[in-house]
Symmetry: D2
Subunit: 342 residues, 4 copies
């Protein structure tokens, strides 16, 4: 093992919402890991995060961070359109890379990034944190053990409690690349087979403003996998009862499914009915443990030279699926993934 990574120093690029989560995990939650440097184009954001955890090195230029020699790895949490090029530079600088999803919306740019990673021989993990949620891991494990026999049907429920602001929607890449992309990854993660063809339907049911911006807020996607599984994903930007994140897999010997996590497990029975708690509000609450676990796993992969669980290719394929879904919706026909090329 590289002695450099025993007490591993990691740099953080991007100190926004998701950067703060990863920053905290790197700073105080992972034994043997140190958050050593923070870069953000907004110096105050970088400084504020650094101060919170006693980090001494701060910069507005991520290139300065990449050229700091004792950093073994970097976590890229900057704007999506910077991911691909920073990955390339980080790989060239010999840093192991954790990068938030999506790598990019453009397959050519993704491929350049992945080539650079391969050429440099560094690790790249994409931030598909839901793979590290205890519920979905357990489902995958049970399916892998053969507890439900051969899988036949997959169902993913993925509904947000509220839509992002219009300015976010504009640069989001659209619902399939921004929201469904997580579910595309989940589908591949749980079924362990590739999707050959998909068919997407959708509508604007939640907010006309989203429609005016050319996007959808409600979508259903049917997936056909190589191994014969047929899957459905349904998405909404607004589930008033909270973040709805469930999966169900049906197979020849049984079915496995998950329910939503809730802040507690009380039940109140009164004259009106039997009432329970709503699901955890949104991803920060629901997936808190998974963010820590994905970073722990990344650090472990770097330390032991193992392949990350969410690889660069795992980052590319859901983008292909998102582009196929958009095409399917626009042309109202099933689209094969092989139609989507660079």
């Amino acid at each position: 093992m590289d002695p450099q990574v025993l007490g591993m120093k990691v740099g953080l690029i991007g100190a926004g919402r998701i950067g703060q989560i990863h920053g905290r995990n790197l700073a105080v939650q992972l034994p043997g890991v140190r958050l050593a440097m923070v870069a953000d184009i907004d110096l105050r954001a970088a400084q504020s995060l650094a101060d919170q955890y006693g980090v001494r090195q701060v910069t507005t230029d991520y290139r300065e961070l990449l050229s700091t020699p004792d950093l073994a790895a970097v976590a890229i949490c900057s704007a999506t359109d910077t991911h691909a090029s920073i990955i390339q530079e980080a790989a060239k600088a010999g840093k192991h890379i954790f990068c938030e999803k999506p790598i990019d919306f453009d397959l050519a740019r993704i491929d350049l990034a992945l080539s650079a990673v391969q050429a440099a021989g560094v690790s790249l993990q994409i931030g598909f944190n839901r793979r590290f949620d205890p519920n979905f891991r357990r489902v995958r494990e049970l399916v892998g053990e053969g507890q439900i026999g051969e899988p036949h049907l997959l169902r993913i429920t993925s509904r947000d409690p509220e839509p992002p602001p219009p300015e976010y929607i504009k640069f989001s890449g659209g619902i399939f690349l921004d929201m469904t992309i997580h579910d595309f990854d989940m589908a591949r993660f749980l079924i362990r087979s590739e999707v050959e063809e998909l068919y997407a339907a959708g509508g604007v049911r939640v907010d006309p403003e989203i429609g005016r911006l050319g996007d959808l807020d409600t979508a259903v996607i049917m997936l056909k996998f190589e191994n014969g599984v047929i899957g459905t994903i349904d998405n909404s930007r607004t589930a008033v009862y909270g973040y709805d994140q469930r999966v169900e897999i049906f197979g020849s010997k049984g079915m496995v499914s998950t329910e939503n996590e809730t802040p507690d497990r009380h039940t109140l029975s009164d004259q009106e009915g039997v009432h329970g708690p709503l699901p955890m509000h949104f991803f920060l609450e629901r997936y808190q443990a998974s963010y820590l676990e994905e970073m722990r796993s990344f650090v472990e992969c770097v330390r032991t030279d193992k392949q990350p669980e969410a690889s660069g290719m795992d980052g590319r394929i859901p983008v292909v699926m998102g582009l196929a879904a958009r095409k399917s919706y626009e042309q109202n026909r099933p689209v094969r993934l092989s139609e989507i090329t660079v």
Copy 2:
């Protein structure tokens, strides 16, 4: 088999609320059984029930019914204070007997009835219908199979949705003999061991009128069984959310419990919470199937000369427990069942 009982004719004594349930089951729900005669001191009640099912024989005098030769069995659904003497007469008349609980509040009168039954060699089944509920049967079965190992703890939740009217309370024998008596039977049924000692606490929390009548509306009873199990029963006359009927048994290898039955299994999630249906309102809804099943079982016992599942002794012991509970409450001390003698 007695050819008389092939197409078994049964007489019904008492055409009140519970009599109507048993009457209907005997009339149209049990193949090979015929409700052949109805007796009630109120002729119109008898006639009305008889008309509903095309029953030709009606009387205001149960003795006339008992002396009708082709009746193989009778179902006694008259007022509690008539049970013991009608059982004696029915036994002498050679009729097999189904009798509603309780046999009586007086142990000497119960013993006379049981002696008459024994002397006549007829079957006697007491109407502890809850033994025939699919939930409690399943629990007993699982415990009997050793699925939870040796039982250690028992818990019975038994709460009514609303109290009976004051005029009923007056002649009810008090909460322990009227309401808890079902739970005392359930405790013995599930644990298959006898209670040696019990301790009862209670209060008037629901309706001061019940207190003025010298009764309680809220009670908790602790039971110590011969086999070491410790049980608790809790009762309330008013659960605003409906009829609450649950059991839980904890043992060396696990736990088994039951939830309330509901009219359907929907869940409504909205901004306020996740809402489910209330339990079935009261015993007529909740225990509908068990009333049919207990009568089916009684008829089967008569046909095959088997011992009924809820025997005369099963009718006597819960009365002893009720009397012990009353004494325990009055004297605020644990009372051994052996203290309660004729």
Copy 3:
């Protein structure tokens, strides 16, 4: 009200499995209704059912039954390919008609039957019994009350515990017309809007024999409704854990869903996990109450001259949907219902 229908006499055509259910309900479960005659091409089947309930009139010729003057209504439970013509004859004979689903697989024949019904001015109810299940009724009611706001997404899970025998498959019309047809009806019932377009996928995953017979055993259908709702139905011929019958509707103000019914509600916790009961095995157990309720409703409609809840047109449209689904699957493209014409 027609005095003829006060004590309404009903004739039964077809004494097979489903005929026996309706026969029993007509004979003993509905006050004021009498099963007065049974017709079946197999005399012994007719006689056996008749004997069970003391029915005096039996025939092998349904025309004899239709010409019996004092029958107000008939229940048609014969083979599917006889439904349409018997409906026509029954209508001409002035009988009110309950007919099992499907009316026919051929739209022209269906239309002839519906015309005859209209011309005769009799009632026609189609046997979509699931509409009378307490769960789905409750869901429909809650949606109708606006409890979930505007509906956006519908999901129907409909999986059988075991496939029918090959000889049944051969004449079943295929999975979409035999099995999914119930779900097509349920979709319309719950959403109260018509489907404009659907897309069907499927496979042979359960039993290769089903594939050899040209049918599918696994299917997923996506539905687009006029009101913007997007729905999915998933079907399998073999759910090893039992009959899986659930729905979920998501809307602007919430979500409503149902769980499977089980024979009891126990939970067993042991060292391995927390275990609950399987769903009721199949439709005879699961939908027992709904069969009674649909017949009660039919009788009520005849008595009060109301339009049945599952009308002739409700019988026709799911056939159109089944034909569209088959076409969609064969051509692997979304198919509009307007493409399916006589």
Copy 4:
């Protein structure tokens, strides 16, 4: 606010199992708090914990820690028989005090400790961490809001997955003072009224060795509160299915209850049944969040000069209840708390 407590320094006395939990929370989980010193009679234990979080000051003598001037507060996690005297000394040293439960088994010693705290005017919080569990907090809140009206019945289920080792049992004070003490506190916390009288039953069902040591492993305690509530607690040292921690409160307008927390929320349906996950194994997993929350609350109380939620008197009363329970069990009679005097 005392500037000393802005960046509050806290010392830890006792680096055993529970000390490590509190140590970690003080060291890295609470913004503005610093674990500044660790004392343990075993230097290696103190050093090891200190090293983990970069704590510089370590000692084998807690008195040295108490005399360190810049420590605003101490957390006492040493052996039970040292609690009372260390509290006294810490109070005299002007330190705010967090102390693990129980304060002591001897009421006179407890009273000396509480007097010292009062005289010094420092804060004392007792480690009844379950008060900070989100489930029980929610229950208390709902009851406080009047959601269930007047409470009538309380039920606490508290079962450990496995008994402690015999050497622990010997010095544990017995099941009522070691295990039930948490439930006694929970009862007071949820009902907000004092217990007047209790009745305890128990047995040795799990492990005869526990019996040989003069202790019980199974217990049921009935509580009568001043406000009329009747409560039951049941305890077992071995629930094979895991840590069973539930409460239920029934009142005039409804019922509130909680289910166990599980590591995930999957359900597996197969031919045998429907299977879910076991409860979290034991208190370290189940109450992880509550340990952090109680320390956060303690720090907040020190900072804002508020009364801790679990005060010294809250530490004393459950000891009285434990002593009363022991007496009740030994004499097999209800015991009033007023009988238990110094």
